[in-house]
Amino acid sequence: MSAAKSQIRVRDEGGVHCVEFVERSIIDEAVIRQIGEELLKLVDTAATPTLVIDFTGVQHLSSAALGVLINVHNRVKSRSGQLRLCGIPKGIFEVFRITKLDRLFQTSDTVAQALESIG
């Protein structure tokens, strides 16, 4: 059986993992599960995990996807790392605001601003 196609694209920006999603709709349970596994692997294999997750172009996202992001946040925190979310479209940000997750996550408008905010 061939390995499932990766659901994230990762590039290194001076030691920071910058992550983009392959799918514009993060709603399918299998896709969400795979995103979670890939992100947690990224966190677990870094000495001090530092991630910027870019939501530019994301059109849909479910509460299950929020659950994955919270798991990633908790894992990064437990390993004394840093996590930033950026480029969140207006409609998606409303989902974060309704669920008060805008208080949990540090967000920026752009990747550049997210990178600047990392100490």
């Binding site: 709603i27 399918d28 349970e29 299998a30 059109q59 849909h60 996202l61 479910s62 509460s63 299950a64 929020l66 659950g67 994955v68 919270i70 798991n71 946040h73 908790n74 409609g91 989902v95 309704i98 669920t99 008060k100 997750l101 208080r103 949990l104």
Partner: protein
């Protein structure tokens, strides 16, 4: 409140057997019906999100992903809003039993936000006796 309005309601009735395939099929049918009535992107986003939450909950928490159990979906789509019903074959659900995910002590718990999102985007959300039939009303903003 959603009413029949100038044009008769579009009715969608589906028995869902397989979560991934049938949820997507329902989403496509509903999106086609609301777009035909000129619903905008914000309305389509809200309806898609709430249907995803409701239907996945019905399979996962209602039917406990048990093979052979089905979910009944009904939609009445009108010019000024929609009425959706999702019924699973579980024992019923008490939404009062879900802890408030926005409380400071619960913010880092990764579940329990689906109902909150449905309540935010829909004008009415009710679990009907015995708690395995969800009724949601979407009121269109103009």
């Amino acid at each position: 409140m959603a009413t029949a309005g100038a044009h008769p309601p579009s009715q969608i009735r589906v028995t869902l057997h397989e979560m991934r395939v049938d949820v997507e099929r329902v989403q496509r049918e509903v999106e086609g019906a609301i777009r035909a009535r000129g619903y905008d992107d914000d309305a389509a986003f809200a309806i898609r999100l709430c249907l995803e939450e409701a239907l996945v909950n019905a399979f996962r928490h209602g039917n406990r992903l048990e093979p052979g159990l089905t979910v009944e979906f009904r939609a009445d789509i009108m010019d000024d809003g929609c009425i959706f019903e999702v019924q699973d074959q579980g024992e019923g659900f008490d939404p009062a039993g879900v802890p408030d995910p926005t409380a400071d002590e619960n913010l880092e718990i990764p579940s329990g936000r689906g109902i909150m999102l449905m309540r935010a985007y829909m004008s009415e959300v009710a679990y009907l006796d015995p708690g395995n039939r969800l009724r949601m009303v979407f009121t269109r903003k103009r």
